[in-house]
């Protein structure tokens, strides 16, 4: 059963709310492009990958009205299946053109709605989708927190600066750093839950956070693990975005 956040988001997509589509594109665009590049195995260039990722969202736009949440597909599968369809269609068209014939775009079937392992999402892709959700939560926290508070979290956790150096940089005491850090961390936990709920279609997807060391109700030692997990995810996202940018400018 979908929660209100997911249904709200889906309803905005269905109503062609451009801001909702932009959020989807901003959050999951790099993941889709990385996956398409991987599948393309060098046969498609960066420009084509960019076009295809846009076509993926266009295909999604065409099919969102037929989306049936009761059929139990995962959110990640949902994106992946459509991306795969778009890529497959592109390769078919290319092959047809090589043979000198024309081929119309294939109809997108609705297998992506069904919960099954046929879509073939690998673990790396699933992890990338999850990381994109965490990144979206970090951005929401940045939007909601005070600049200095978030900067403290960023310096201490995302950049790995020792607490003492953070305190010295900002002219504050270490306990203040710890207090501010805890405040942002708590906010991040709340936001993470919201984002994961928004972009999850199944219960199993919603439990991803806890499985990845980002439990919503932590104990004290969990805080360290939580920060480490966030820092690791952030670094991987930075690498993903950087490779995406490099591809785009290649």
């Amino acid at each position: 059963m979908l929660n209100s956040l997911t249904t709200g988001f889906i309803s905005r997509l269905r109503a062609r709310d451009q801001a909702a589509w932009f959020d989807l594109w901003e959050t999951f665009g790099p993941v889709l492009r990385a996956q398409l590049t991987k599948w393309g195995k060098g046969r498609i260039g960066p420009e084509t990958v960019r076009d295809l990722s846009q076509e993926t969202l266009a295909a999604l736009s065409d099919s969102i009205d037929r989306y049936d949440p009761a059929r139990g597909a995962r959110f990640s599968t949902w994106l992946l299946a459509i991306a795969k369809h778009v890529l497959g269609d592109e390769m078919d068209r290319r092959n047809a053109q090589k043979r000198g014939g024309n081929k119309r775009a294939a109809e997108l079937d609705e297998t992506w709605m069904i919960a099954s392992g046929q879509a073939g999402a690998d673990a790396e892709y699933e992890a990338a989708v999850f990381r994109a959700k965490v990144e979206a939560a970090i951005r929401l926290v940045e939007r909601g927190c005070e600049f200095t508070d978030f900067s403290i979290y960023r310096m201490r956790v995302l950049d790995g600066m020792p607490g003492k150096d953070v305190a010295s940089s900002l002219g504050i005491s270490e306990p203040t750093v710890s207090r501010r850090l805890a405040k942002v961390r708590d906010s991040l936990r709340v936001r993470l839950e919201e984002v994961i709920s928004t972009y999850s279609f199944t219960e199993e997807e919603r439990a991803e956070a806890a499985r990845n060391g980002l439990a919503a109700n932590p104990t004290k030692p969990d805080d360290t693990l939580f920060d480490e997990a966030i820092a690791d995810i952030y670094r991987r996202q930075v690498e993903l975005r950087e490779s995406d940018r490099t591809r785009a400018n290649a």
């Binding site: 905005r12 009205d65 203040t176 952030y234 996202q237």
Partner: protein, 828 residues
């Protein structure tokens, strides 16, 4: 055989088998693969050659068919169609040329594995040719520019204009000098001509801020004539900041050295000074990026006025800009339909300035937006400045002047790496002010409650006092920044001179003036008064106005050479040439040109073409026979579509007066069905939000002025007392979204304004008795929006008129007792 011999043989066999296997795996298989590869190469060569020969034959046949069609259309006077066929023939010839190249060079080279040899021909040469500047002279259609001698050209960007380098005549130079623009050398002329493919929206976009830019001295001249629109700026020969950044990083190992860092600070300072100048003049650049910053003589110059927008513009935000340097929040706001004057556009420039600073430090783009990580060694304070500039919209620097203060603080330090973020003026001032109750939150070391403006002003005064000319330096050595301030860019200088501000010798040690100046500079670009608290304990405050912003410049090293004149009021120099009026005039001229063309065509048809028709009559008959069926089919299809459109608008179809939005209202053709349209079941007054109108906006984004017209039309529906569903957005009601989605789903792919789409809309309206009408905003043939209104059956005729009037722009009386939307919803 003896046992020994047998054993020897067996042993030899045992040893030979692995060798044989080894030989097969490592020698024979690769050899076979090699042979297969050679065969494949030959096969590909042969198939490629055959394919290209056939392609040539096909292109020749196609051309043979197309050439008579072209001639035919010339004969019957269909010039557009003949051009179309002409372009098709051109494409066929290009195809033939490419095939010939592949037959003679491409395939043989690939067969002989000489692909790297042909890469230059196949890839690099086309790229270079495509990126080459245009003609060094304007086309004959454009004519020359009076008072300028064209000496070269520059590659055009994405704006659609052409860029020429020119030398102004002596008269022009004298005229510029009279305007206060001294020492004008070469200039750049950006020209748009409808005849050369520029479009009206491009011209309007470029034109909208030019009068203000001219007053500020950013441009020298601009003009709109019958043939074209152009404006003139100074020519800054140099290389882009992107290339300069690469040069700076080429010698550095892991990060920038001290010398390079000083240059980076200098460029950032130049950029921020220019942006401050823009913002104080009420403008917003909107496309700040390394490619638009030219470095010449150690100074950075911001160029390209293509997207410059007045900060107080009433137009809707657009998503124009460059990825990585454009604030994603701006895109979100634009997609929500936010107006420019509702936001602080200067903050988007500040984001871009932060991104430019990031790119100079990292030699890379900020791919991760505000979360981009600076991995190269860099002063922590500079890192902080980048983050503060690129953070969320409402948390970033309030003004470019504040960011400039922070950067100058880093630049002035003996050891920039030793500067801590808490030492930055913005932290001392604004952060302390924001965290006024520091102790309550455990916030230490931020001083007391100090007014942001006062602190920044004091810092500014110290800049002026400590370093004559306001030049920030590392240690005590004069750097390029000092040199820059010593020889401030001509156009900035002259622009300030226009405002009665000159470059002086000594510091202006007027703390009060500096306080007022910086305080004013923070917001003066918006024409709003700034309230600055001077005593937090007693609550005293001071109001600074735009005039003090001029003094603010003095505090940063510019001292009035003459008593400062009152700032020129922001009024158009030529009241009769606003953008809207120019647009109207341009449309009028286009219409006249169209009429002239029609008259000319009519004249040509009536003239001796008859003789020509007789001459090629035989050819016409032959090809009419071939194309007859095709042509008749096309006409039938066209008629069918027209018929559908007519059928969909049985009642009213009219154009909004004074607006670009067309209006088509459709009522039930059968009044008795589902309620009488004459009497109606819905009240004429739609007060209380009990009845709603569902708005469908196509995914095609309309730009200004269409977008504003649509928003206005929809807002008037709300004024009528109707509840408008379909505004979408993050805070929209999911139930409303679902209703819009349901209606869209019901319509499916049925085309706009046809009977096919009317039927499902009408059915949906019948199922939703609270819905008075559905308004679908689509695109008309001319590109302008058209609001197609499908009225519910139960709406009385006078109610229909009210809705049509509201969309048309007639002021609607707000019904009494109208409650808020939320309460309406809860009341249902």
């Amino acid at each position: 055989m003896e046992p020994v011999g047998l054993a020897f043989l067996i042993l030899a066999g045992v040893i030979a088998i692995p060798f044989a296997i080894f030989g097969i795996v490592y020698l024979i298989v690769p050899a076979c693969k090699g042979i297969a590869w050679v065969f494949m190469q030959v096969f590909n060569f042969v198939t490629g050659e055959i394919g290209d020969v056939l392609r040539i034959a096909g292109a020749v046949i196609t051309s043979i068919v197309l050439i008579p069609l072209t001639v035919l259309n010339v004969v019957i006077g269909r010039w557009s169609a003949s051009s179309h066929y002409g372009r098709a023939i051109q494409n066929e010839f290009v195809s033939i040329g490419r095939s010939l190249y592949r037959i003679v060079i491409g395939h043989p080279a690939r067969l002989l594995c000489l692909t790297p040899l042909t890469e230059g021909l196949e890839k690099r040469i086309p790229e270079v040719v495509a990126a080459a500047p245009g003609a060094d002279r304007p086309s004959k259609r454009q004519g020359q520019f009076d008072g300028y001698a064209i000496v070269g050209s520059l590659p055009g960007g994405g704006s659609g204009g052409r860029l020429y380098i020119a030398e102004p005549s002596a008269e022009k130079i004298a005229a510029f000098a009279k305007q206060g623009q001294a020492s004008v050398g070469r200039v750049v002329i950006k020209s748009f001509s409808l005849a050369d493919g520029s479009t009206l929206p491009q011209i309007v976009r470029e034109n909208r801020a030019l009068p203000a830019a001219k007053r500020m001295g950013l441009i020298l001249e601009h003009d709109l004539t019958e043939e074209r629109f152009f404006y003139v700026t100074r020519y800054v020969p140099g290389e882009s900041l992107g290339i300069t950044t690469q040069t700076l990083h080429s010698g550095a190992g892991a990060g920038l050295g001290r010398e390079e860092l000083r240059k980076v600070c200098g460029y950032a300072t130049d950029l921020l000074r220019t942006l401050t100048h823009y913002h104080e003049g009420g403008l917003w650049h909107k496309d700040v990026k390394p490619d638009n910053i030219i470095v010449a003589n150690g100074q950075a110059h911001l160029v390209d006025f293509g997207l410059v927008t007045p900060l107080r513009s009433s137009m809707t935000l657009t998503t124009h800009g460059t990825e990585y340097f454009r604030d994603p929040e701006m895109v979100r706001m634009a997609l929500r339909g936010v107006k420019v004057h509702e936001v602080d556009g200067a903050k988007f420039d500040i984001y871009a300035a932060g991104a430019v600073l990031y790119s100079m430090i990292e030699n890379s783009f900020p791919a991760h937006g505000g979360l981009s990580q600076i991995s190269k060694p860099c002063p922590e304070a500079l890192r902080w400045v980048v983050r503060r500039a690129m953070t969320e919209y409402d948390k970033r620097y309030e003004s470019a002047a504040l960011m400039l203060e922070d950067i100058e603080t880093v630049c002035r330090a003996d050891d920039p790496f030793a500067v801590k973020p808490f030492a930055l003026p913005s932290m001392k001032g604004s952060e302390a002010a924001h965290h006024g109750a520091a102790d309550q939150h455990g916030w230490e070391g931020m001083g007391g409650a100090v007014g942001a403006g006062a602190t920044v002003a004091a810092a500014a005064a110290s800049v002026g006092a400590g370093t004559p000319g306001g030049a920030p330096t590392f240690g005590k050595k004069p750097g390029p920044v000092a040199a820059m301030l010593g020889q401030v860019g001509e156009y900035v200088d002259s622009a300030l001179g226009q405002a009665g501000v000159g470059r002086g010798a000594g510091p202006m040690a007027a703390g009060e003036a500096a306080a007022a100046a910086i305080g004013g500079a923070m917001r003066s670009g918006h024409g709003k008064p700034n309230i600055k608290v001077t005593n937090w304990w007693s609550g005293k405050y001071q109001i600074s106005s735009q005039g003090s912003a001029v003094k603010g410049e003095a505090a940063r090293g510019f001292v009035p050479a003459v008593p400062p004149a009152p700032p020129a009021p922001l009024r158009p120099r030529n009241p009769g040439s606003s953008a809207a009026e120019q647009l109207v005039r341009a449309r009028h001229r286009a219409k006249e040109a169209q009429d002239r063309a029609h008259r000319r065509m009519a004249g040509m048809r009536g003239k001796p073409n008859v003789g020509l028709n007789v001459g090629v009559g035989a050819a016409v008959l032959v090809f009419l026979g071939v194309c007859g069926f095709f042509t008749v089919s096309m006409f039938k299809l066209s008629e069918h579509r027209s018929a559908q459109n007519v059928a969909a608008s049985p009642a009213v179809s009219e154009t909004l007066a004074g607006s670009t939005v067309r209006l088509a209202v459709t009522r039930s053709a059968e009044p008795g069905k589902g309620g009488s349209a004459a009497s109606g079941t819905m009240p004429v007054e739609f007060g209380g939000g009990e009845f709603e109108v569902v708005v469908l906006r196509d995914s095609i984004s309309f730009q200004e002025p269409h977008r504003g017209a649509i928003d206005g039309a929809i807002a008037r529906l709300s004024d009528l007392g109707l509840s408008v569903v379909g505004t979408l957005g993050e805070n929209s009601d999911p139930m409303d979204n679902d209703r819009v989605a349901e209606l869209r789903n019901r319509i499916g792919v049925a085309p706009f304004q046809t009977t096919e789409s009317e039927a499902p809309i009408r059915a949906w309206l019948a199922e939703h008795p609270e819905a008075a009408a559905a308004v679908w905003v689509g695109r008309h043939e001319g590109g302008e929006p058209i609001a197609w209104v499908v009225m519910a059956d139960g709406v009385a005729a006078s109610g229909t008129e009210k809705i049509a009037d509201a969309l048309r722009g007639a002021p609607a009386e707000k019904p009494k007792g109208r409650s808020s939307r939320a309460s309406n919803r809860s009341g249902r």
